[in-house]
Symmetry: C2
Subunit: 333 residues, 2 copies
Amino acid sequence: MFEVNRRSALKIAAFAVAASSVAPALAADAEVLPSWVDGEAKSRIVDFVAATTTEGGADFVEPADRVAVFDNDGTLWGEQPMYVQLAFVLDRVKQLAPQHPEWQTKEPFKSVLSGDMAGVAASGQKGLVELLAATHAGMSTEEFEKIVSDWTASARHPVSGKPYTAHIFQPMVELIDYLKAKEFKVFIVSGGGVEFMRPWTERVYGIPPENVVGSSIKTKYEPRNGVPAILRLPEIDFIDDGPGKPVGIHKFIGRRPIAAFGNSDGDFEMLEWTTSGPGRRFGLIVHHDDAERENAYDRDSHFGRLARGLDEAPARGWTIVSMKDDWKVIYPK
Amino acid sequence: MFEVNRRSALKIAAFAVAASSVAPALAADAEVLPSWVDGEAKSRIVDFVAATTTEGGADFVEPADRVAVFDNDGTLWGEQPMYVQLAFVLDRVKQLAPQHPEWQTKEPFKSVLSGDMAGVAASGQKGLVELLAATHAGMSTEEFEKIVSDWTASARHPVSGKPYTAHIFQPMVELIDYLKAKEFKVFIVSGGGVEFMRPWTERVYGIPPENVVGSSIKTKYEPRNGVPAILRLPEIDFIDDGPGKPVGIHKFIGRRPIAAFGNSDGDFEMLEWTTSGPGRRFGLIVHHDDAERENAYDRDSHFGRLARGLDEAPARGWTIVSMKDDWKVIYPK
């Protein structure tokens, strides 16, 4: 069902572009962001886009400089009851366990296999790196891409029973399409692994692999049996989270965005870096306050903790989106 | 003069796109790559592009997957008598010397200031890192961008007396425009510093900063006097050369290119990785064999050494371009 919906969104975007090239004034904003309630959040977005894309206006920005960055976990899709990539790690450990009998008695694998999440957490940073090494390294990049694609197609969310890619936020997908139709260059800038996202972001969000920035492990170019390959090494290369996000933006994109969209304090520096530049800027935080349709969490959450952002957003001029009040729907139909 | 020329090229490209959308068959290839001699090299390029962009053909490639990568030094612009970035380093040391009286007696700075290039070379890798740290680190990314832009505008090539950006290769700029008009995504993948290229690649080649991959030093997000900034640290982050090029392509672009263009053995692995993928692929090496109009060098050059590529290109199906025989002109008019 989502696929149909996605194509429809693309058609609307394509139509908007075609229409605006013929008669810009007719591309009415009543049709944009249909899943957003006509309130302050939507009107701030539309005002920002109008201001930065209207030629001759004081805040006009050339298309080349219209860079918008989106966090992924909790901003474009759900991150509860745990980050999707963590669910992938746990599943992979279970799948690989028969080849590793020693894991039955060795932490953090033992806790994973017995479903003891407190035990996994107790293994700390060291345990996490061991889990990453066991599940994300030791194969070629193309083999890993296939592993991720296969898992994404087969894995199901523990609560809804749907594929994780069904848990994307329809209003945010519309926002991506809207910005692209207005000649923004849209990037994902996520704390998640870049190679965990790239296999599906184009199909699901319309964001191609080259526009995905994320955390990464090191790789090495090395022919295997005479066939050129890039091997994944058990060593962290880059952590694209918190103060790492502006660094990742600079490293991969090479210019400061004019709009940033996040949901947790891991996005704080990305929003700060984006909105402290000269000219008109836009910062937005998705607030998970909808226990009925999605989840309600902020200051005390293990995943996607949001405290400083909530406190400082008003003074910084950032828009806080209430999922409960600002979104007509949460997921694609 | 170059600016006018660049705009003309863009107009031609835009016209080609418009024309092809109305009547594809009329977008005659006689008009493409006008600075290329009608010979084997040009015809191989045109055949490859036709094969991969003709819908319904056996070798058709979707636009999303049409990734083309270009080396920069020696492929898109000159690299003699030394890499342009090295000229920048030497100039910066001279500019900064009054603030560093100790450099008068300390290597490798002493050799740079006395013009003793053999002495600079004798300082080896350690000396080079010291020179990089002194000239490329210790400032914000925005300050460095201004330093590069100012230098690029004022520096002159020691032989021609022209700006370095006048030493770009007109046939290669036409090739970039041709590929872009055919919906290729064109990236630079260079051993040079990414932040040394990004300030001018869009203006000079039409390649935006986010499509430039290169070597880099580490950076750190850190407000200075309360103003958010990204600081450049005196530490190598990534070397985008040789086997580092496939790694850089994977890291920054996230998919394997279908066409690669280089000129030295530092591009070998990039060409190998690109052309060993499935489906129709294209590899091309620019051979500097034109002592009269540019330079003639290959196996014994300090900059842009080319030996293995020359030896293996025929068996690998890579096209070798003779600057002397295949290019009508070298530089933009």
